[in-house]
């Protein structure tokens, strides 16, 4: 039997029952559209979280002092003084897979300009900080290594600080602001980055040379943490291993002893955040999958009724020369055509509703091509799977009985 003819036969049969065909497809349309829209929303929120994390520097590594015991009392990591400037220097000079590193010391307090004041945090860093944390300077310039060496009282400020202090529209560049009574000259303004994933304002900060913060503000010799960037996201693991080795050696930590420091990468944060959205995506996909399954049962239901209703037609087709396999193929093709057409409409509807969600609800969406292929494959398989039984039933009919059927 000619497959082209079989398609024509199936198409003509479907053409005779357009409305019923549409009703049958409806289940598949809704199922596929739901799968695509749900996955688009799920993937979208995952992607937006990942994007936000990578604006913080996806290849960034943080080294903090570990919690140690001091006279039997476990101390918080921020009060530990085990991380030294020499540790940073060792990591910078000996560490492998590392592109940049900066020591970090920070202090919170009020920053004052004229009559305005605002709470903020001053970070003492070196110029590499910009690359590591993915900041850029929009106006003025970053301080230099020379400023670090000389402990110059200069700073670069974030957009929030600009808004809080310079309310009269003055040009901040060249102005002197005060932090804990220490005057610092503003030499640059950072480009705004907005809030991070945790809702923290990434523009509410003052950057100054770490030497300045250490000596003039905090009066300490140790450092709070070290920020390192690996040469690439993929090299993060190797960079962490290298840093750990250097620090264990420097801190004289023997085999089997607990580290007195912590090395963390953004990767852990990403995987933690992703696992939540992944779970949500799976949940949404499950619900959508169930509706696709119900759509498939709808096809089977209609095809089954259709076979009974068209018993005489089947008898006639057999009497004029249709073989069992011709009848089987006809009904199978009808089921597949219904589910594939429903699938195509569902894909279009799913993508459009995802864009409606994006534009009306302002939710992030991300349509992965694989979700389209997947739902398409599933609905074709649904057509074959749920079309098979009714088609088999039709092809097994006896032509004499079928012709006599009332």
């Amino acid at each position: 039997m000619n497959i082209v003819n079989l398609f024509k036969i199936a198409l003509r049969a479907l053409n005779g029952n357009k409305f019923r065909g549409f009703l049958t497809m409806l289940g598949i349309i809704i199922g596929v559209a739901a799968v695509i829209a749900m996955l688009a929303i799920g993937q979208g929120s995952k992607k937006s979280i990942q994007d936000q994390i990578s604006t913080m520097g996806s290849n960034m590594i943080n080294v903090r002092p570990g919690t140690g015991q001091f006279g039997g009392v476990r101390q918080s990591s921020s009060s530990m003084q085990t991380l030294k400037l020499e540790d940073y220097e060792a990591i910078e000079s000996q560490g492998e897979y590392i592109s940049a590193a900066t020591p970090e010391v920070s202090s919170s307090g009020q920053v004052i300009f004229g009559a305005n004041n605002a709470p903020t945090t001053v970070y003492g860093v070196n110029p590499s900080y910009l690359d590591i944390r993915k900041y850029t300077v929009s106006e003025g310039s970053m301080f230099t290594e020379a400023d670090v060496k000389a402990s110059t009282k200069v700073c670069v400020i974030g957009q929030t600080v600009v808004e809080n202090l310079f309310t009269n529209g003055e040009d901040p560049i060249g102005q002197t602001i005060r932090f804990n009574k220490i005057p610092m000259k503003v030499i640059g303004i950072l480009t705004s980055k907005g809030d991070n994933t945790m809702g923290m304002d990434q523009d509410d900060l003052v950057l100054a040379p770490y030497t300045t913060v250490q000596k003039r503000i905090l009066a300490i010799t140790y450092i709070h943490s070290i920020a390192v960037s690996a040469i690439s996201e993929g090299a993060t693991e190797d960079a962490i291993a290298s840093i750990e080795e250097i620090l264990r050696q420097r801190h004289k930590i023997g085999i089997g002893q607990e580290d007195d420091f912590n090395v963390r990468s953004q990767k852990e944060l990403i995987s933690m955040m992703s696992s939540t959205t992944d779970m949500m995506t799976v949940l949404l996909a499950c619900i959508a999958g169930i509706s696709l399954f119900v759509g498939g049962i709808g096809i089977m239901n209609i095809m089954y009724v259709s076979v009974t209703e068209r018993t005489r037609e089947i008898g006639l087709r057999m009497s004029i020369g249709a073989k069992g396999v011709d009848i089987l193929m006809q009904f199978l093709i009808e089921a597949i055509l219904l589910s594939v057409t429903g699938g195509i409409i569902g894909v279009i509807l799913g993508i459009s509703s995802a864009y409606v969600v994006k534009n009306v609800l302002m939710w992030p969406i991300d349509i992965q091509p694989y979700t389209i292929f997947l739902s398409f494959a599933v609905c074709s398989a649904t057509g074959i799977f749920f079309g098979w039984y009714p088609a088999k039933k039709a092809s097994d009919l006896d032509p004499i009985e079928a012709l006599r059927y009332e």
Binding site: N2, N15, G315, I320, G321, K323, I400
Partner: protein, 252 residues
């Protein structure tokens, strides 16, 4: 009638057909033999339960006999499988049913094309032109794209006849083909069948329970209790066309 030189279209030899219904064996055919030659118009008659339907099913290759031989156009059918018989029906037989059995909501042309759809050797173009020709032959050349539900019973049966002709069968099997039609339309259909027989020399088997119709065929076989009761040739064939003229004209 000299039939010695003619092609044997149907040859049944001592055909028996038994059915098992529960514990009982029903002998629907108890040994039937006859030969139908090319160009004959045979009516097969019998009351219900006489076995004529079973005989029709066997001749139509829808069923196989329990015993005996059946040759259709010289081909032995008895040992054929389902698929082989389906192909044989497709190439050699044209069926006409009492209830037309047209596809619903389908145009006349598409209905007539149907048997050729199951014949992969015929191209779409040839299929279409043959369907149009068959419809023109039965007088429906102006109704090619009418859908089956837009036509009268007589027109539907004409479409069914065109469908039976389109595959150029060696035999046309009509099963109570006028059973659902009023008298006038019945004679119109009968006129068409006689025309096919006399002008195109088609071989036709017309199964019916209406004894009147025997006057219009060239041969009449009567079945009773699974056996042939009589097999007579009709030398004075009445013309359905003439009867039609005597009927009062109905408002169209």
């Amino acid at each position: 009638m000299n039939t010695g030189q003619k092609r044997e279209i149907i040859k049944v030899e001592d055909i028996k057909r038994d059915y098992v219904v529960g514990e009982e064996v029903v002998h629907a055919l108890r040994g039937v033999s006859f030969t139908i030659y090319e160009g004959e118009f045979v009516t097969i008659m019998g009351t219900s339960g006489s076995g004529k339907s079973t005989l029709l099913n066997v001749i139509g290759c829808l069923d196989t006999p329990t015993a005996g031989e059946y040759y259709l156009d010289g081909i032995s059918v008895r040992k054929m499988g389902k698929n082989e018989r389906a192909t044989l029906r497709n190439r050699k037989i044209g069926f006409i049913f009492q209830s037309y059995n047209l596809l619903a909501k389908t145009t006349a042309v598409e209905n007539v094309e149907l048997p050729l759809m199951y014949n992969p050797t015929i191209s779409a173009k040839e299929r279409h032109s043959r369907a149009i020709k068959a419809l023109t032959d039965v007088g429906l050349g102006d109704r090619l794209n009418h859908k089956s539900n837009q036509m009268s019973g007589g027109q539907q049966q004409r479409v069914a006849i065109a469908r039976a002709l389109v595959n150029e069968p060696v035999i046309i099997l009509a099963d109570e083909a006028t059973g659902n039609l009023d008298t006038r339309t019945s004679f119109e259909i009968l006129t068409l069948m006689q025309k096919l027989h006399q002008e195109e020399h088609r071989t036709i088997i017309f199964v019916t329970h209406n004894p009147e119709l025997a006057h219009f065929s060239s041969r009449n076989i009567v079945i009773s209790d699974g056996r042939i009761k009589s097999d007579t040739y009709n030398d004075e064939i009445k013309l359905a066309r003439e009867v039609l003229e005597t009927l009062p004209k109905e408002e169209a």
